[in-house]
Amino acid sequence: MLCAALNLYESNEVAEMRKSVYAGPGYTVFKSFIAPDIARDLGKRWFSGMYNHLLHDGFIKNQELAKDTPSFLIRRPNECDWSICHQIWQAPLDETAHNIAMECQRMRNLIEGRPLYYATRIHDSLVMQYRLCRTLSPGVTVKPHADFMEESRHDPSGSHAFDPRRTQMTLFLSDYGTDYDEGGFKFMTNDERYVTFGRDVDVGAGDLVIWKYTNKHEVSDVRVLNDSVLGFSRIVFPLFEGVMAR
């Protein structure tokens, strides 16, 4: 089975995950959400560059994301750091990645208490993009910030009014200690401690972390190991507002 989440959870399991996000450390880890080899293969497939010809190679502003926006590739902050952005409402370029993204969103919807397929349909008030991200650069690649905490945004994906319900997900496609070390995804817990996933929390390729979006987070200090093409690779799942109207 591709995804362990194909079976709906018992409500008490969802309740425990929800408590972990909102009243526990601020995150919940779903181990082996997909098989580790599927996760790593997915990363290698896209980060080898063999399918870049299918992508619009250039930055598209969050505020300009529209119904007909194709999949696109962002190279930021450096040329080697890629974000490959697929829209969930478009015909998939990669069926595996698309199905995985759909299952991840179902998990988030269960935890946030939303309808099961919310944000996967173009008519929903928020719609999802899934971004395969690879960081190879050292230093700070995603500055420390918190979402939906009324921080100003140069290019917002929608309203950033305070919304403690909101969660983000990170599906890991590479392994700390094998592909990268030192830094990576750093997250401030609900009791205001910083943890680095992979180093302080047992997380590796195929594991899904659902975390509270209003807590501070960053990506920094990645050191690539073994000339890995993956470095720190993951999928994140931003939601966009107002796409239907554009």
Binding site: S11, V14, A15, R18, K19, Y22, A23, L110, I111, E112, G113, R114, P115, Y118, H123, D124, S125, M149, E150, E151, S159, A161, F162, D163, P164, R165, N190, E192, T214, N215
Partner: protein, 200 residues
């Protein structure tokens, strides 16, 4: 819970209580503090002397917090998870079930109804609501998050993860907006429906 600058500290405790009891600390919990003044104005317009309140769905209760003139309040809420929240913040509230209660003339001065809760399992059936809403003036309200779809806001407010039944929701709304039930007979009462616009 960590709050953005400028938010009242008491909100943190309320959000924590939601999370501890397994509810999603969502938009509603944040914004009742912001909407309190609007709700208060609507109550003053419909029933300025009101002292006895009923809340269908439970979410109106926070708007009564701090009102010195509340002599009694009953909450009709089908959701088990909501009970601990209500008890921890509003100990004066009597929790009731629509299954074994028949509302009578004079029981209440004002009935508060949150229209988003129509699709919950165990929500009062339309006949009970129609009969009950004839007993007192009604303030029925909903929030508008900017959605074009009439159903989408209902989805957004199921913050305990309850199963949503669109058909039930629609039939409940239909019952509430059926003017004959409130206006067309000798016992005509006031029903006011209000849409409050949220911050998001």
């Amino acid at each position: 819970m960590i709050l953005p600058p400028g938010y009242p500290a008491e909100l943190s405790d309320i959000l924590d209580a939601h999370a501890k009891d397994g509810l999603v600390p969502g938009w509603y919990a944040v914004n009742f503090l912001n909407l309190g003044r609007d709700i208060g104005a609507a109550i003053a317009e419909i029933a300025p002397e009101a002292k006895k309140f009923a809340s269908f769905g439970g979410r109106s209760l926070p708007f009564l917090f701090g009102r010195a003139d509340v002599s009694s309040c009953r909450s009709y809420d089908p959701r088990e998870l909501y009970g601990p929240i209500v008890r921890s913040f509003f100990p004066f509230v009597q929790l009731c079930s629509s299954a074994d209660t028949v509302l009578a003339e004079g029981d209440f001065d004002l009935i508060l109804v949150n229209l988003e809760l129509g699709g919950l399992d165990g929500a009062p059936d339309p006949d009970w609501l129609r009969a009950s809403c004839a007993c007192a003036p009604v303030l029925a309200y909903r929030y508008n998050m900017g959605d074009a779809s009439p159903i989408a806001p209902c989805h957004d407010f199921l913050d305990d993860g309850s199963v949503f039944d669109a058909q039930k929701a629609l039939s409940w709304k239909k019952a509430l907006s059926w003017k004959k039930a409130f206006v067309g007979d000798k016992q005509a009462r006031t029903i006011k429906t209000v849409t409050f616009y949220g911050l998001s």
